[in-house]
Amino acid sequence: MNAAQREQLQRSWADRPGLVGWLTTVDHKRVARRYIVTAFVFFLMAGVLALLMRAQLAYPNLRLIGPDRYNQMFSLHGSAMMFLFAVPIMEAVAVYLVPLMLGTRNIAFPRLNAFSYWVYLFGGIMIFAAFVLDVGPEAGWTGYVPLSSSDFSPGKRTDFWAQMITFTEVAGLCVAVELVATIMTQRAPGMTLARMPLFVWSMLVTSLMVIFAMPSVMLASTFLITDRLVGTQFYNAAEGGDPLLWQHLFWFFGHPEVYIIFMPALGMISSIVETFARRPIFGYTPMVLALVATGFLAFGLWVHHMFAAGLPPLGNSFYTAASMLIAVPSGIQIFCWIATLATGRPRLAVPLLFVLGFFALFVLGGLSGVMLASVPLDLQVHDTYFVVAHFHYVLIGGALFPLLGAVYFWFPKIAGRLLSERLGRWQFWLLFAGFNLTFFPMHYLGLLGMPRRVYTYPHGLGWDAYNLMSSVGAYVIALSFVLMLVNIVRTLRRGDAAPDDPWQAPDLSCATASPPPAYNFAAVPAVSSRHPLWADADATPCAELPVLAGVRSDRREVLLTTPVDAAPANRWAMPDPSPWPLWSALALTVVFVWSIFDQWGVVWGAIPVAVAMTAWFWPKRSEPSLGGDA
C-alpha cells in the first residue's frame, strides 16, 4: 500500500468540508460519535431530573416540587433514560466499533445510519422541549392506560410521549437492521461466525432482539395515540378493549428492552476482560450460547411485570420458572469471566475496575431479580422502592458501569488521546460509593412499604433516614460525572496521544490508527483466528497483519463476504455523503408532530417524506449505481 493509494483512499472517503460536510456525512465514526455525545447529553439532562426528584424526597412532606411537575419529571427521567440514553448509546458504540472490529470501511446502509441519528436527535429535542413547555409525559415511562388515556391525561402530554417512542424506535430499528446487515456481509475474510469477537456477537443478538421487540411498543403506542386522537377503543374496557392489552404489548417489548440494554454491555465486558486478563476468554462457545439463550428467554417472561394484575396463578408460576431460568446464562457468563481473570494475568486499569464494579453491583441486582421472579415475593415488593433499587442495580451496575469502562477503554481509539487514569479511579470510587449510597437503602424502603412514583411521603414510617441517605448519594453520583467531564475536557485539550493499540487488545479495531482514518483500513485485513492481533494464547501482539489487495480505492468500496464462512464474495460500492437523510428525518419529524394534532397530518405530511426519500435513493448522474442503496 503506497502513499498515493492512501491519498486516493482519503479523497474517496473524505466528507465535504465545513458545515455541509457535517450535515451530510455518512461516516459511521462521525455519526456514532455524535450519537454518543447526544446520548450523554440526554443522560445528563435526565440525571438532573433525578437530582431534583431526590431533592424533593430528601425529607418527608417537602414542598419543593408539586405533584404535577414531579410526575412529569419521573416520567421523563425513565423515558429519557430508556429510550434516549440506554438503547441509543449501546447502539451508537456498536455503530462505531462493529465495522472496525469486522475490519471493514463503513457500516452497511450508511445513509440510513445518518437518518437514524437525525430522527433520534429530533425526537429527543421534541420531548425535552415539550417538557419545558409543560407538555411533558405524566403517566410514567410505562404509560399505563387508562391513566394515559384522554380521560385521565387530557391535553397533548401523552401524545408527545407516544410520538417520542415512535421517533426513537424508528431510529433504533434502523440501526439494528444496519448492524445485522453489516455483521452478516461485511466481516473480514476468514472471520467465520465462530471467530467473531464476543462484542460483535452480543450486538448481533441485541439487534435481532430489537427487531423482534420494538415493533411491539410501536404498535402499543400507535394504538394509544389513535385511542387519544381518533377515538379507537383498543384500551377501553367498556367497548371490548382491554387495559391489560397495553401492559402485554408494552412488556413484551419492555422486558427484552432490559436485555437489549444489558447485552451490549456483556460484549463490552468480554472485550475488556479479555484484554486486561491478557488471555483469550475462557469458554467462548458457552458465552455465545449464553448470549443467544438470553436473547430467546428474554421474550418469554414479560408477564412477571404483571403478577399483581390478577392473571391466572398457574400461568404466573410458569413465568416464575422462565424468569428464574434466565439466571442460568447470566451465571455461565459470570463464571467464564471470573475464570478468565483467574487464569490470566489481570492488569487493574480503569476499564477493568469498572468491570469489577459491574460484578459487585450486577450480581446483587441479578439476585434481587431472582427474588422478583417469585410470584409471592413480587406481590410484596412490586412497584416499591425495592424494584427501583433492583433495576438501577441491573441497569446502572449491569450496563452503565461496563459502558463507562468501555468509554475509558475505547476513548483513546475514538479521540486519539488517553484519559487520565488517576481521575478515572477517582470517578470510579465516587460513583461506586455514591451509587450504593443512593440505591442500596432503597431495598429497605421497598420492604418497609414505600411505593415508587410518590412525590412525597409522610413522616414516621421509618423511611426518613434511608431517603436522606439516598438523596445525598445521588449528589455524589453527580459529582463523579462532573469528574468524568473534567477528565474528558482535559484530555481533549492536552491528553497524551494514544498509540494504535493502547491496551494490546486482540480485535481488529486496534489494527488501525487512533483515531481511525475515514477509510478505517488501508487494506482489507484477513483473519484466521479469534484473536487476529494476538500471536498466541499469552496475548503476545502479532508483528504483522495479513491483508487482501484489490478493493478499489478510487471509490467507496468495501469487500463483502459470505454470511457464515466469511469467504470473499464481491466488492460493494458504498454511497456518498448526502443531505437527503437529514431532509427525510426533518420531513418525518413534521409528520410525527403534525399527527399529534391532526390525523390528516399523516397523509399530507407523507408527501414530503416520499419526495425526500426518493431523492435519497435516486442515483447520481455521474455514478449511476452509487446512490441506490441506503
Binding site: L147, V328, S374
Partner: protein
C-alpha cells in the same frame, strides 16, 4: 488497599439487611401479621439467605481471581481447561438446583395466598385518590360503606373484592399480604387472615395520577368483640346534630355543594361521588391519610383542600369562616 476497601464495603452492605429488620413500621412487609404475609415472608427469608451466600461466594471468587498469587510462568492461559470446564458444569447444576428450589418454594407460598374460605366479604373500590370500602352481607340491612379505613376481625379470613372506579390502582397492606391491582373492567380479590391485632397502613401501589402519593388506607385488626362493636356502630345512621351550632352546620352541609358529592346516612345527602361521611369523626385520618382527623386539620382541609393534597377532586367551597365553624361542629359530631 483497594481490595480491603472493597471487601469491607461489601461486608457492610450485607450486614445492612439485618439492621433493617429492627425498624418498626405499620407499613412494613417485614412485620408480617397475617397468614398471607407470613407465607411470603418465609420465601423472603429463604431467598435472602441463599442469595446472600451466593453473592458472597461470587465476590470471594472474583477477589481470589484478581489477587491470587501467581507463579512466574503461567501454564494456564489456555482457552480449554478441563478442570474449569468441569467447574462450569458444576456451577450450572448448582444454579439450576437452587432456582428449582426457589420455584418450588414460591409456588407453594403462592398457593397459600389463594387458599382458605372467606368468613367476611368486603368490596374495595379505588378511585382517584381514595378508597371506597363496602362491607357486604347477604342481608341488605347489614351492609354499610365507609372510606379510607378497613377494619378486620382477627383470626378470620376476609375476602376483599377489588374494583376500580377510574384508573388502575393497587391494593397493598404490606403487613397483611402482597398487592393486587384494581383494574377497570376486571374484578380481582385478595384473602386476608390477620393473626395479630393492631394498626397497619396500606397504600396505593400502582401509579394513579397526581395524588398517588397520598392514597393511604388505614387498617386496623380488632378482636372479634371489638370488630362486632365497630360494625354495629357503622351500621347505625349518622348521629343527629347535638346542639344548635351543629344543627345549623347540618343545614349548611345539605344546602351547599358538600351534599352534591358526599353521603351522610340518615340525611338527604346520598351522593356517592366522594367518600361517605356518615361516621367521619370516628376515622383516624382525613383525605386518604393526608391529614390527621382533628378539628384544626379538618378546618384547614375545608378552607383549601388543594393545599394538603394538590390535585384532588374536592373543590374549594367558598364558605364564610363563621359558617365553616358551624359546619365543623356538625362534621366533628359524626362519630
Amino acid at each position: 488497599m483497594t481490595a480491603r476497601a472493597a471487601r469491607t464495603l461489601s461486608l457492610l452492605l450485607l450486614a445492612l439487611p439485618l439492621a433493617g429488620c429492627a425498624v418498626q413500621g405499620v407499613q412494613s412487609s417485614l412485620q408480617a401479621a397475617a397468614d398471607q404475609s407470613r407465607a411470603i415472608d418465609q420465601v423472603w427469608t429463604l431467598m435472602l439467605w441463599v442469595c446472600s451466600a451466593i453473592y458472597v461466594a461470587v465476590i470471594a471468587a472474583l477477589a481470589w481471581a484478581i489477587w491470587r498469587r501467581r507463579r512466574a510462568v503461567q501454564r494456564e492461559g489456555r482457552t480449554r481447561d478441563p478442570l474449569l470446564a468441569r467447574a462450569l458444569a458444576a456451577w450450572v447444576v448448582l444454579v439450576v438446583g437452587l432456582l428449582s428450589w426457589f420455584v418450588a418454594a414460591s409456588f407453594l407460598a403462592d398457593r397459600r395466598l389463594h387458599a382458605g374460605h372467606a368468613d367476611l366479604e368486603i368490596r374495595v373500590t379505588a378511585k382517584q385518590w381514595w378508597w371506597q370500602v363496602e362491607y357486604l352481607s347477604p342481608q341488605p340491612d347489614q351492609q354499610f360503606s365507609t372510606a379510607n379505613e378497613l377494619r378486620l376481625p382477627r383470626d378470620q379470613t376476609a375476602r376483599i373484592e377489588l374494583l376500580s372506579g377510574d384508573v388502575i390502582h393497587s391494593f397493598w397492606v404490606p403487613a397483611l399480604s402482597g398487592k393486587e391491582d384494581l383494574i377497570p373492567g376486571y374484578s380481582n380479590a385478595v384473602l386476608l387472615t390477620p393473626r395479630r391485632a393492631g394498626r397497619y397502613r396500606g397504600q396505593c401501589a400502582e401509579f394513579c395520577g397526581l395524588q398517588h402519593a397520598q392514597m393511604a388506607l388505614d387498617v386496623e385488626v380488632l378482636d372479634a368483640a371489638g370488630f362486632a362493636a365497630w360494625r354495629a356502630r357503622q351500621l347505625a345512621p349518622a348521629p343527629a346534630p347535638s346542639d344548635a351550632h351543629a344543627l345549623r352546620g347540618a343545614q349548611l352541609f345539605l344546602g351547599s355543594a358538600c351534599a352534591s358529592c358526599h353521603a351522610v346516612r340518615g340525611t338527604s345527602a346520598a351522593s356517592r361521588l366522594g367518600p361517605d361521611l356518615t361516621h367521619l369523626a370516628s376515622r383516624r385520618a382525613l383525605a386518604a391519610g393526608a391529614l390527621p382527623m382533628r378539628r384544626e386539620a379538618l378546618r384547614a382541609w375545608l378552607a383549601d383542600p388543594q393545599h394538603a393534597k394538590p390535585g384532588n377532586q374536592m373543590p374549594q367551597v367558598p364558605l364564610d369562616p363563621r359558617d365553616r365553624e358551624l359546619l365543623l361542629d356538625y362534621l366533628m359530631g359524626l362519630r
